[in-house]
Symmetry: D2
Subunit: 405 residues, 4 copies
Amino acid sequence: MTDRAYALFEEQQQVRGIDLNEVRSKLKALRIETPSWGYGDSGTRFKVFPKTGVPRNPFEKVEDAAVVHRLTGLSPTVAIHIPWDKVEDYGKLKRHAESLGLGIGAVNPNLFQEEDYMLGSVTNTEAAIRRKATDHLLECVDVMKETGSRDISLWFADGTNYPGQGDIRKRKAWMLESLRELYQALQPDMRMLIEYKSFEPAFYHTDLADWGMAYNYALKLGPQAEVLVDTGHHAQGTNIEHIVAYLIDEQRLGGFHFNSRKYADDDLVVGTVNPYELFLIFYQIVLASRDTNEGIRQHVDNIAYMIDQSHNIEQKIPAMIRSVLNVQTQYAKALLIQHAEIEEAQRNGDVLGAEDAVRRAFEIDVTPLLHSIREEQGLPLDPMRAYRESGYGTQILTRGKGGAS
Amino acid sequence: MTDRAYALFEEQQQVRGIDLNEVRSKLKALRIETPSWGYGDSGTRFKVFPKTGVPRNPFEKVEDAAVVHRLTGLSPTVAIHIPWDKVEDYGKLKRHAESLGLGIGAVNPNLFQEEDYMLGSVTNTEAAIRRKATDHLLECVDVMKETGSRDISLWFADGTNYPGQGDIRKRKAWMLESLRELYQALQPDMRMLIEYKSFEPAFYHTDLADWGMAYNYALKLGPQAEVLVDTGHHAQGTNIEHIVAYLIDEQRLGGFHFNSRKYADDDLVVGTVNPYELFLIFYQIVLASRDTNEGIRQHVDNIAYMIDQSHNIEQKIPAMIRSVLNVQTQYAKALLIQHAEIEEAQRNGDVLGAEDAVRRAFEIDVTPLLHSIREEQGLPLDPMRAYRESGYGTQILTRGKGGAS
Amino acid sequence: MTDRAYALFEEQQQVRGIDLNEVRSKLKALRIETPSWGYGDSGTRFKVFPKTGVPRNPFEKVEDAAVVHRLTGLSPTVAIHIPWDKVEDYGKLKRHAESLGLGIGAVNPNLFQEEDYMLGSVTNTEAAIRRKATDHLLECVDVMKETGSRDISLWFADGTNYPGQGDIRKRKAWMLESLRELYQALQPDMRMLIEYKSFEPAFYHTDLADWGMAYNYALKLGPQAEVLVDTGHHAQGTNIEHIVAYLIDEQRLGGFHFNSRKYADDDLVVGTVNPYELFLIFYQIVLASRDTNEGIRQHVDNIAYMIDQSHNIEQKIPAMIRSVLNVQTQYAKALLIQHAEIEEAQRNGDVLGAEDAVRRAFEIDVTPLLHSIREEQGLPLDPMRAYRESGYGTQILTRGKGGAS
Amino acid sequence: MTDRAYALFEEQQQVRGIDLNEVRSKLKALRIETPSWGYGDSGTRFKVFPKTGVPRNPFEKVEDAAVVHRLTGLSPTVAIHIPWDKVEDYGKLKRHAESLGLGIGAVNPNLFQEEDYMLGSVTNTEAAIRRKATDHLLECVDVMKETGSRDISLWFADGTNYPGQGDIRKRKAWMLESLRELYQALQPDMRMLIEYKSFEPAFYHTDLADWGMAYNYALKLGPQAEVLVDTGHHAQGTNIEHIVAYLIDEQRLGGFHFNSRKYADDDLVVGTVNPYELFLIFYQIVLASRDTNEGIRQHVDNIAYMIDQSHNIEQKIPAMIRSVLNVQTQYAKALLIQHAEIEEAQRNGDVLGAEDAVRRAFEIDVTPLLHSIREEQGLPLDPMRAYRESGYGTQILTRGKGGAS
């Protein structure tokens, strides 16, 4: 049935004028980084439900990440969080990863879990705390050198809960000061990805609240600074794909933190709340990858796709497999968009025709295509089932409860 | 200056035709319950910043609550949370409270911090877990008998994170089943307050998501069941005072959990984000307290005002003093509304006149009035300063860090 | 290719244990009412762009609606709006419709476009205006008798723009008074569908703001009163399918007004913003249609599906065809859900498995199924293309501009 | 009583260390521009309720605006909208205004009410329409020369309703092209104010959707381009005063369009939904006006305050008087903030103290201060009453219904 399904699929796409070779080659090039902290316990402010089998240290986290890659072929790197993943010898961690077919990806500083940072890290009123925070950022660059990481991924929890609590403009200046120092420390091949978030944990103002602020800092810093879009970090009623297209056009879209939200920053498995939104993000990316401007095309090739979720009730590894598969699915659909049709509809002012052309690609079932590619790559057709059957989930139960966060 | 200020205030209100005696007597009758858990450590999912001086047990929490009442005259009762405030001898806790001039207020069951409840408490698929959850509710009724509490205050974290995770209608039936059993166990003078919340910690559907669901359960259960409005538990763009007026009209408004929010359920100090909204809530209450229908008037008299906040970065006791003062301030302003003016504007279709009449009361500075009342009651004019000067904040530092939550 | 596609589809569904005969029969029973006003000019407050070819009177609107049904087989009735569709002889309008294979569906009173209603219709402070408004409702019942309509569909624009402008509780009583009088006038086989809306055109409070208020009125009125869910009338971050499931469970879900929104009440073509949400609504309906409780099953059979959109820039008839097709598509997908799998996952606490089982049905391409059904029914496989090729769009251009709204 | 009230007020502010001379002089310098279209009929998509007495032409609009200024002393200029205010001889309009003590303020192009612009004006796919739109912008510069206007205020309705309808990045380039041409045409003393809006009338993407996009265009264009903040044009849960502070810091805040919203872009009278938000915006402005950086101070002095509302049910002139008074009130309160106290609290990490210091200024009743200033300026103490008593409202009834929009 699988073969017949793909044969039919192939035929259907041929009729639509889709170059399946190109689609396949793009799909095989897709890389989605998983985060080390996605394998540990996490939760809401009401309760963290500790799971049995959660990795106890960075080495075990890397092992779990390797399982995701082995089964999906999609996640050859794992992002780390410092100090959660602090080890004495990063070279050893890197070699451990490599022995499992993985590389170390983005390094994520942590500036929100020490008591000093209660009223701000790089935007704290106290110079000594700002110094400490910046030093931590510089420490992360050192880690990057050891792990061979390209990207430092910056999210600041800094902000205030009440009017007057902080001087918004002074804090803005302090953040820039810190970012400049970090920027200076970057090696030429390193990138700084600046993430923004509208609220939480700060509930009045967040120093780096939206893409405009992140972009503005990137402009001031230089070409190695780019913006990181976390799909859950926007106010309700924000058109995320518009921001994506806008940043691509300015060649400042560094990457994504993928996850889903229905309400606030829910951090659910990506693609489970509004899969069409994820598809529409990829529509903008695919469109840009066909741009006549080579700079735009190259820029798009360097976008870092990363998962950033907080699995509260789900099993860790299967949730991660599901996540990368969902991203792959929507990307595959976006690759099937018939652009010529859309362009013609646009020229003719055919609103309904243009809409239909986009949505129709979304409605295509890409299972035959993905099966065919997995088969070609020697991957299990159904990675979720393969995981269940692998016994790995049972094997790690010996780790017990109370693993790392 | 204080005396002159009050003399002028009195004169100004006389001109407006406000009966200050009635206003004063209503203000003196205001009671705002504080929650025991508001004195302990709390925070966001990113970090709980432990404070020094936090109470180590229910007895110390009651002591802190007593300080708030001593300085403000507003908070003669304290709500408790079971099992956070579980003690062997509730009579002893009650007597301890009474010795400090306090009573034990609402009892709050906790059905969200045990691992069993990860996928639901009273709406769990497993009958044994539902049984356990209902038993906990019944246990709380036993506590109420010992503490002499009138109200059991119900908030359920129950819900799902993904479509399909639970059967929405089955869960609805299970919840009703549990509530019925609890309702049967209530003594005639007890009330069940049913709280609702739109999301968090559940991110797809929350079993008890809005006032309509809470109200519907109350209707099914009987007259001792009423709705509890938490000001932070609504979607953005919800008119809370409309819901308040609606529930009063149906005589099903049991009480409030007060707090502020700008984004989600931020749980900030009440009255700090949009004080006008709090005023407008009290406008509806004050209006109903003047209704020709006696049932409505009596209903309004029984509304329970309670604080429910999660102080993340603020000092606990001062934050609570500030909270009850903010409620008092907005209530005082609402008592100064000139209703006859508004009614005339309504009859004349004078939209701007009606709006102005409401807002003008909000713009009155009620400091002279509140000072005068505090003076009459032998309270410090400035409770925040009185707290600072009392030395209590220093004294409790000996409790150290790591107190109860 | 079409035949092979269906053969493969059939085989795939067989493997999944789906009974395609039942699916087909349910799909053939689907009825989606289109609104007469959806064929006329409409727009935003900034501009109504008049289209050429818009119907000039109710008879021409019915003709356009007939085209939609002829091409899709989905829309055998058309809703009317009084006085927009006021005619001297409703019998004549009905016979005109019948001659085109159509019936007259729900009757929609209009209580928002006369100057008298600026400050409210059934909730106006002036008794004479309330009387006038109620009389219009009663007039609509007379129309229903002539058109043979089952449903009167009630949407009130009533509300206020500022605090104090109206007395919320008095207005509540006035609305109930009016609804009661209407309810008394209903014939036994008629239904009253009560719609709610969170805001617009009222911007402070809307008298009938949410499902809870609509439901409460229905309870007070009696079994012929039910709630109408307009998919665009909720605050951001409202779980609509939860409300749907809840109302079904109470057997008070009268019907839907379908449309799409990304921001406020955008009134876009249904299924274009978040098609998964529409699918999840149908998931709840399909699930209820399998309930062991016969009352629930029968209730679900009587849900009225109606389109209610405001096409601002789209061509009218094609937009309507697209709309009913989108509803059909999502319903078809929902019929393919494997319920046994979901139930097993629920029993096992398998959160990811349950989510996956739901979403997988959404990812199925139902084109072969819909083609096969259309073929069986003698309908064009691609109704949009059939419309373009029919020449009807050109033919109506002779109507000129400036048609009815 | 008025004198005693001011004497007491003066004394109270002296104790707080507030320099009332400075406050008074800043209040006397406050200028709030009213819009010509605010005197004409406007409404929602459901209904525009035509008022009697609405001005029939630009000359009458200017007369109404002059009344607002005569009674409040706050609004010496009136903004115009082209072509709504198109006249043969702008010099004549200017002289008419001057004879009434008014100047012509910002010129507002209108690019949303011609049929050509249905699918975009400066971002339309068709070059000829883009050309026409840009020509209209250039025409407005010519008007500015004749009216002596400093600012051209740009709001574009341009956007799309569906994915695929337009090419987001191409439209971005077209907009920049048009803005560049306009920028070149500006005289050295002219400014271009770029407004943004998140949605409506476009419901999928709006080309100029947020402050970041407006700011980015301003950066690309040059120092005469600045951002215009309309208080109603943000997603729910956006901290507007943060954006204000941010833009001031970059010296790119050109001005405001003031109005209120509870839901979407409700366009209600400014200061009626959340007056504290308006106060907090002024807090940022007042804070910046005390900056040590002279550039910041000068920048703040040039912010244009403008009203932009859509009075649907309110009487036009009184609504405008109320609007400018509400702005004056919140500005007055913000001028009473005790900054030294806040700064000390910030240094000490005293979150509650800082919040309290800000909010306390908001709670001050500024009536005595405003009365005193009006008295000094020879203005009526109560402008609303003075308007009612002036008879102007009756006098204009002779204009009849059906005035200009």
